[in-house]
Amino acid sequence: MTGQTIVLAAETPFPPTVEDFYLPSLFTGGGVWFTKITLLLWLSVAILIVYFLVSYRNPQLVPTKRQWLAESIYGFVRNNIAVDMIGKEGVRFAPYLTTLFSFIFLMNLWSIVPFAQVSPNAHIAFPIVLALISYVLFIYLGFKKHGRGYLKFALVPPAPWFILPILVPIEFFSNFVVRPFSLAVRLFANMFAGHMLLLVFTLGGFAMIQSNLLLAPISVLSWLMTIALTFLDFAVIALQAYVFTVLTASYIQGSLAEGH
């Protein structure tokens, strides 16, 4: 962006750039890999494991509040995502989909939690791994169900023979290339863009004050916009976790479907 000037007015770097996503190491002796992102990732995994373990410690027939909440999360994913999308066989995948949903939701949630303020999913590595797991899962399921006929099932739609030369490459591209790519990029870009938006309005408020004190009311407007965007960000967080899980369930259903 050589056309833009970066206002370095007494240490408010504005506008925010991609460099703002490369965070420094947390401890001086900790090694360059131990950043806030790493800490948030470990926290997410720990919180998930501990929460679900503790909630199901002494399961009662009449559930306690904590058990009810954990069961509601699992029930929501099992009923509204797994069974709705895949059918009766969906119950087999409900544990994986619940873990996927809660993990992505928790990882995204750090984006609006104070002191954390950035989601590890804003680094594309984590969505890539999650998308790869779903990708390998639905391809493996396809091969297990259809054997070697899976490629014919996935790539050759019921269409007249003379347009198959166009359709088969399109189907290949759409099923085996675009699906994992879009799963990963959708999650990454939502978190990236959300964080950038919050950065722009927050840092913009500070930069405006530092350049001209009369702009202080506009700065307050900018910060109010940040608060409004935080609520929008919460909606996006929940939606992206839901959509990732629903799309994974839909791809699994596509692999397990009977022949055309």
């Binding site: 999308m85 870009a189 990236f192 863009a193 950038m196 959509v243």
Partner: protein
Amino acid sequence: MLLAEVVGSTAAIGYGLAAIGPGIGVGLIFAAYIQSTARQPESARITQPFMWIGFAVVEVLALLAIAFGFIWQGTLS
């Protein structure tokens, strides 16, 4: 001979153009959902998952534009 000279980032222009399609697309999705719910309110629960899936799939194009804007930074002249 230069008739008009534009300097700066073409990524910004590119993103502005790229946001037209998904904007219209998302509007169409929600318009369809609202209309179908107005005609037959019982169908709202059934069609809601499809609304969210469709919204996410269309939105991904706009978000790809945000991400690619940083990858493909270019300047005129």
